[in-house]
Symmetry: C2
Subunit: 405 residues, 2 copies
């Protein structure tokens, strides 16, 4: 082992397996199945230290990371992989109404929002208001939006239809909206068409080529039309973390840091930027913000630093190998594009489940998730249908007898 000292700084104490976050948002899995404490993941790695702290800047001249409420930390090599958050474009105020799908907190907020909507609708005597409560609008028809739409449709039509006495599933309306002319732009056209068919089969309305012009507590306006709804979910765009500001370097229109083919800054070859925070060009186009890209970039950087420490230099530029793209559309239906192979349906779903469970980081999680998946599949139950009463946990709030904690 190269005699290095590694410090992992994160403002969260856990690592999140993002591809299954929509399962938490739709009450299919509890949060703990898709998240694991960073210290637990790394506890066998003796040369690695974990810090729960928040980065607020980088002093490139002094080679120090600036932390909130902590002394600065010196580095020889710096790897920035601070991700991205939701992009509400010119309307940050929409973020107050329409949660995104980036963090565990986002997923819990959506879960509370969905479940509370059904609870409120059950008690609502006014037909029009009930309709608004049961209208769910998803903005952004990428994989996250499509997966959420399919999952909400099943939650509404199968799981909840059984438990509510006064709600007809036909009252529920799920709308998937995107300004682009088609859904799933990162997947081949024929697969996107299969997904459209499957979504319609599940009762999801597709509204492509329509721009959102307003979001309020009353509803949403897109394509010039107003739809009354209390539940808008935003998966339309990403904004990179402010690493470009910390480093005082050039960024693209999404705030991603422009890096060299060796994934370093032009001016500092000991500073690497990877993942959703980096803009890496390949064949003249920027690489997509997906896990596969980030993982391969991480491996490349580790190799590059190892070589430098041995007095060599990495001689080849970073090159991303696309292993394929997948998207799940509800129960037992997924799409996969692996090179020329295009799969849609049950086989795709089995592949999706296998690959995602395999990639869940710890054995323990892998086992539980399989078990829970199998149970959900057999029973249509959703085990995580819990509405927390945190101040931000949804629209249904209560007063407490005791302390406000």
């Amino acid at each position: 082992m190269t005699p290095v000292e590694v410090v992992v700084i994160d403002r969260d104490n856990y690592h999140l397996f993002q591809p299954m976050l929509y399962q938490v948002a739709t009450a299919g899995l509890p949060t703990t199945v898709i998240s694991a404490p960073i210290r637990e993941i790394l506890h066998k790695q003796a040369n690695t230290r974990v810090m729960l702290a928040e980065v607020t800047g980088v002093d490139v001249e002094r080679r120090q990371v600036v932390l909130r409420g902590q002394l600065p930390l010196s580095y020889d090599y710096l790897i920035i992989a601070t991700g991205a958050s939701a992009n509400y474009f010119q309307h940050p105020e929409w973020g107050e109404i329409a949660p995104s799908m980036k963090t565990l907190e986002d997923a819990l907020a959506i879960r509370s929002m969905l479940l509370s909507a059904f609870e409120q609708a059950e008690l609502e005597p006014d037909e029009e208001k009930r309709r608004a409560l049961l209208t769910f609008v998803l903005v952004g028809a990428g994989p996250t939006g499509v997966e959420l739409a399919g999952s909400i449709a099943e939650l509404a039509n199968k799981t909840l239809a059984r438990d509510f006495r006064h709600l007809r599933p036909s009252l529920t309306r799920i709308m998937l909206v995107d300004a682009m002319p088609r859904i799933l732009p990162t997947l081949p056209k024929d697969l996107a068409r299969s997904a459209e068919k499957q979504l319609r089969h599940l009762g999801v309305e597709l509204h492509v080529g329509k721009m959102v012009t307003d979001v309020s507590g009353e509803g949403i306006t897109f394509g010039g039309e107003f739809v009354a709804t209390r539940a808008v979910i935003w998966t339309a765009g990403v904004l990179a973390s402010p690493a470009g500001v910390w480093l005082g370097t050039e960024v693209d229109h999404s705030g991603r840091v422009k890096v060299t083919t060796a994934l370093t800054l032009q001016e500092h070859d000991n500073i690497f930027v990877i993942g959703d925070t980096a803009c890496v060009l390949q064949g003249g186009k920027p690489l997509p913000g997906v896990a596969q890209v980030a993982i391969q970039e991480g491996e490349y950087v580790a190799e590059a630093i190892q070589r430098q420490l041995q007095g060599e230099h990495i001689s080849y530029p970073f090159h991303y190998v696309d292993k394929g793209t997948m998207a799940m559309v509800g129960r037992a239906y997924a799409l996969a594009a692996i090179g020329r192979l295009h799969i849609a349906g049950l086989i795709g779903w089995l592949l999706w489940v296998g690959i995602h469970i395999y990639n869940l980081i710890s054995f323990r999680n892998r086992f539980i998730v399989t078990f829970q998946y199998a149970l959900n599949y057999l029973t249509y139950q959703r085990s995580a249908r819990i509405i927390y009463h945190t101040p931000d946990g949804g629209k249904f709030k209560r007063e407490k007898h005791s302390h406000s904690m």
Copy 2:
């Protein structure tokens, strides 16, 4: 089946299995294992309707339940089982600092508080501040306080000691404080003495016969001495829900409604009060606020109403049969008093685990909890060590790039 219409009103959408709440607070189990949606539990019961709503009063003359933001609901029979919250006696402001252990939100707040304390201590250069961060004070040495103390000791000494590089377990201080002269006053003396020995073995300091006189952000004062700490947990007393106010009837010093031997109000024999909200005298003493009492009261009331509907009357008063008392003190050690039989140690623990898992309401939960227990036991891992960044989720807070969700 008697042709009745049952309406279950709850301000939460889930039923909570409270005896294992301390496992959530100490990151041993995720929330979803000990909670199940009320609708799911009751979905096969065709004559039963579930309402997510908050009761704000009762109009006994009109026989109506008053609800927040809803039309009043008429009843023929009313059963009030609205439980209790923490009692900070004359100091409600302490509740802002010292969370209690009544709700899922409480348990999540404690989990964040404990885990954040270790994270902050790891980064704290000042020895004195580090000591304060690693001092945990539990007020109230009943079963909940004892179970929490044992569980925190193991979290600190086993699970976390492995994951933190800079913390010596010896720095951690866990103090169990009670104004009463001994711990576990509801258990026989010999078992309480065994529990004391086991707690000391785990490194827990016992401070009995000491009154808490101040709680602040800096620390706690008990028995005239100040102890610097950032983590105080309150399990010292309970305050019944305000049912006495709703009903305009007599209550005891904890706010519990005084009921007849048939569990009804003196003035209204169609209004029953049970569980932690009722003060039921047996042999001149009020029955304890435990699940067993509430369950037996519920069964009695169901029988009484059935008989009334058949034109009869229940001829015998409610009588509680004590099946025994248990308390767990850390890993593989529990106490059980079942009639004359007193058990302490591993056998008690096996019994505790068996009974509690058996009582977990649904098969699914029962299965997962067993599995998780077995794994935790074998690996000392705590799967639920996730700190959420909700506004109330602990002392470590951050700013977000996007919306405030």
